[in-house]
Structures are given as C-alpha cells and as structure tokens.
Subunit: 344 residues, 2 copies
Amino acid sequence: MKPTPKLTIYDVARRAGASPSTVSAALNGTWKARRIRPDTVKRIQAVALELGYSANLQARGLRKARSGLVGMILPAHDNRFFSSLSQAFTAEARARDQIPVIVSTQRDPEQEEDAVRRLVGYAVDAMMFVGTTAPAALSAQCREANVAHVFVDQPSTDAPSVVSDNVGGVRTLASALLERARPGAVTGMVFLGGDSGLYATSQRIKGFREALAAHGHTVDDSQILACGYRRLDARDALAALYQRLGGLPPALLVNSIDCLEGALEFLREIPDEAIAACDLGVWDHDPLGDLWRHPILMVRQRAGALVRQAYAHLDRRESAPSLTLVTPELIVPPLPRRLRRGGR
Amino acid sequence: MKPTPKLTIYDVARRAGASPSTVSAALNGTWKARRIRPDTVKRIQAVALELGYSANLQARGLRKARSGLVGMILPAHDNRFFSSLSQAFTAEARARDQIPVIVSTQRDPEQEEDAVRRLVGYAVDAMMFVGTTAPAALSAQCREANVAHVFVDQPSTDAPSVVSDNVGGVRTLASALLERARPGAVTGMVFLGGDSGLYATSQRIKGFREALAAHGHTVDDSQILACGYRRLDARDALAALYQRLGGLPPALLVNSIDCLEGALEFLREIPDEAIAACDLGVWDHDPLGDLWRHPILMVRQRAGALVRQAYAHLDRRESAPSLTLVTPELIVPPLPRRLRRGGR
DNA sequence: CTGAAAGCGCTAACAA
DNA sequence: TTGTTAGCGCTTTCAG
C-alpha cells in the first residue's frame, strides 16, 4: 500500500515550468480573465492530466469561503414525493456543477438544526428545506451565516417558498370526479384523511369546498373526514363511513398515498360491485395505483417544477419572503378494457 | 445586510484569554488527550457559545486531510429499494457523526466517475457504491486516493461487497408458492422478467431452479421468461403466455416491481376468476402490492442490514475483495377476509 | 502575460 | 498545563 503521493499545483507547476498561480488559473478556468496564453494553458492541462492531478476541493473552498456544496433537508428518503424531489434537486445541482448534499432528518427539529449547522460549517452555497419542523430556526441559522435558502412544499414567512397549489389541485381533482356525473356525487362526495390543523390539508379542504360550491353545494361537516395521515386511521374511518352509509359514498377524495393504502386495505374486503359504485381520487401519485382494478384519479405534484422554481430563487439570491405556487397535474388512468362499454 | 463578522478560534481565544490551540482542543474534543484543565475548557466553551462560534469545517478538513463526509453513489433516488438504502445510509452516517452525501448518477459511468472524482477531491472518509455501471473504474479511483469503499447490491472483484442472497431469496419465495399446493405448480410455475445476462437475474433463476429441483422437477426453458426489466415488456410477455396457455400459469414469480407493474397492467384486463387460478410472487416489495385484491407474496431486501454490513467493512477499513450475503425476508400478506374460507 | 507571496481557519508538533 | 508556530493546498492581489 503506497502512501499515495499527494499531488499539488506545485508539483504540476514544477513539471510544467510555470508558477503555481498560473497553474491554478489554467486549471480552474480563471485563465481567460487572467489573460494567460492559451498554449501555456494547454501545456499545463496536459501535464495535469498526465500526472493525474485533481484539485483539493477543501483547500479551494477554504480560500474562496464557499464549497460548491448545496444542501437539502427533507423528512425522509423513502417516500415517493420526497425522493422525486431529491432526484430533481440532484439534476439541478449537477447542471450548476454543484454537489448535492441531501440529508433526511425525520421531522426532528434537533436533527434539522444540527444538519444545517454542519452544512453551514462547510460553507454550502445554498440550502433548500422540505417539510421541516423548525423552519424559523433554520432560516435564522442561514441568515446568520448569510446562506441563501428557500422552502419547498411549505410556506415560510422568513424566506422564499415554493409550494404546490393545494387548493387548485384538489379543486381540479374534485371537479374531475364530479364530471363523471355519478348520481349524488355533488352532495355525497367525501374527503378522507389529513390533519385540518396543517397548512396543506386545510388548503386542500378549501379546494374541496370550492369545487362543490361551483355546483351550488355547501359542504357539510360530515363530508370531511380529516382523520390524520396514518394508514390505519384512514382504513378505520372509511370502514365506519361504509357502515354508516350502508355502502361507499358516490365519490371519495383521499388526501394522501398513505391514506389511500388504508382505504385500499378496507376496500379489498368488500365486494367488487360496492367499489364500482364509488369514484376514487387521491392527492399524490403512485404508479401502482394506476394498476388497481378500478380506476383511481390522481394528482401528481410536479417535483421537477417545484425544485426548478426554488432554485431560481437561489440563483437570484432572493431572500425576501414570497410564495410561489406550482400547479400539480391531474392523472386519469386509462379505463381497463374490461370496464369499457362499447367505444371502438 | 451585515457582512457577517466571521468568527474564528482567534476571536474566541482573545475573548477567553487563551491561545488558539487551546481553544481548538477545547472545542474539538482533543482537550482530554492534551490534558487541558477542565475549567479552562468550560470557560472556552462558554465563550464560544456566547459568541455563537462554530468551526469552519473546510479549514479543519484541509488540515486533517479528511472531511467527515461519506459518499454514496446510486442509480436513482426515486426507487423504493434505493431510497430505503439512502435512508439506512443516512442513519449509519449520523451514528458516526459524518455527513452523508448521496449522489444519484442514472447508471451513467461518466456521471459516476465524475461524482467520485469530486467527492475524493473533498477528501471523503469513505464511499459506498450501489448498482454502479463502472465498478472497476470507481474502485480504481478510490484505491488511487486511498479511500475506503464498498459495493452494495453488486458483487465486486476489487473490493468488499454486500449483496442480497438472490439465490436463497428466490428459493424461499418459490418454495412458499409451492407450499400453496396448487395443482400443477411444480411443473407449471413461471419466472417472469429480468435479464439473464445480469448477475442478479441469473442468481435468481438459479434459486428458481433449485426450488423446483427440490420437488424433483427440472425447469424447462419455457418456464423462464427473462424479458428484461421494462414494464411494458413484462406486460406483453405475460399476455403472450396467457394466450399460449389459455390462462395464467398455476404460479408466477415476477423478478421486480417494475415487471410486476407490467404484469398487473395485463392482469387488470382479465376476469377475476382467471387471476384467482394463479399464485403470485415478486422479488422486491411495495406496500401497495399488499393491497391488491389477490394476495402477492413478496421478498423484501433488507436495506438496513445491507448498509450495516457494508459500513462494518468500512469501519474495519477492509479493502480485500469479499462477498457478504444478506438474506431477504419473505412477506406473506394476510389473506383478505373476502377470500378466507372458514377458520376462526 | 506571468510570478511571488500572503493568507483562508484550523490542527499538531514542539517549546515552555 | 498552555502557548508559539508552521503549514494543509489553494486563490488572489500586487509587481513585474
């Protein structure tokens, strides 16, 4: 095991017959601004390549007081929505030649603050926050260290934020359900799941009300089952509803994939015909949902657009609070051939 | 907007009436080894806290030639298995007080090598590789820079690797399917999906053969439909099989969630009774799969264990090639009440 | 167009 | 038990 002969610009400089500063410039792109002769640059680059030199990024970062790292804090990796944000974030970072550092912190304020402290200690170029529990504190940490930052999927009064249009998304979803023109849908559609104390859920309920209001109906409290986000609670709430109504409602709008899982857990216990009597819609998207034996309308949040908008704020180094809405997209699965009537 | 008065150990030192090196030691934990008086340490820590000092990690990293960063390269974030690895990796890194840097590289060798080059430039403490396309090159890069590294979910001849027990996992799954004792299952079970040229698929086919061999049956080529990993190909392959057999096989073992999606896309077109005539199993797990109207046996790779084993290699700074197998777990969904016969 | 030299903030010998 | 000092490898004035 060789002790690895650490190469520095000095090694390259000696070998290329140039000075360290010239080498530095030739290798990091500033040579144009420094008006270094192109063939000098070429010569140096050739030597660097030959030696297999690559810069020590920590040294560079120390000197420049920035690191080329960009941070993102999110609740969890193993979640479809969050992981699609990670994916989008990675792509954007790559386009800017930055290294994405994505840390999941389990909605734990301490972990969040700790992660930010460390990333700031690394002189990250910017931070993106998703679904954090202590947004104000994080924003303060960043402002203190003068680090650009933005919130995604949650509104903020301290910094720019980019959020899905919950109201509009649910309105669209509910309207699509109504267009199916199932008898009684306007007065009987039910909203299932979520916590009405939270921003997202309350916005979605608002959209739900608006959609029905457009049909002249004022939503009754019994149409809102905000039983929380947990799967089992959703299952039980739906079971109770089924009991009470003696069947499913004509239309059911479920507030999240977790709740959908709960709902499906109940639905697989009841006869096919009973299910066929209900039009189903969900906030959020899961490909397996498309494959259920009955069609499920879904609203997919546009992770790419959310991240792109958020990055745009960072690029402009905006720090004033703002709220940008991104419209989610409605996904209507093809009706299984089995269920199609006629057509060609 | 204040220019942010950058605090250094010198500021703290002056304020605490101590020297920079003492402050450094007091703040980074080496003070015990340096035998600094506890009350000095306390005094310094108090001052640091009061001033809101926090260390410049790039400077520390430059000096120590390590960064406290650990890297992980994986194909994509938006995939259930990979994202559960990310989750596990984050937890392990956190336990070691390291910052996890997880970069997805789309199975693109250039992106992979680029990411490693940059992370090595940052003096990462170690690297973990998942499903990479250019394993040999990555291993070489790390060895060159003397960075500990390990492969997960893919075998390597250059470094330690930790892989799910594909053979055993599929054997277990196939056996569980056979235990259902559906007539003709031994001779009629079909393996669907995957690429027999790849390590994972070939191992799984091996397990499939072993399971049937245990029942005295030698697998026929027509029982292996390695149609690739793409959803649509799986769908079409299953459709063709259905056509050929005039129904589903008595048991079907699907090689991945993507292929399962393809299979379900076909299955939702055919009558319930036809589906009920087939026992279904899949390599990999998806919670929505549990909720399908017919039970689907699943094998879940144990992401936590894979990462833990991999980290163990890093902790021991092993670099010799090795192969560690981790047994995946069989998940048998509860039979829907609807389908249960009697029992209590 | 290129080189010399200072210094980013920290740690670790070495002295005291 | 603590302080002094010399770098880690790079970028960046400032001279030439």
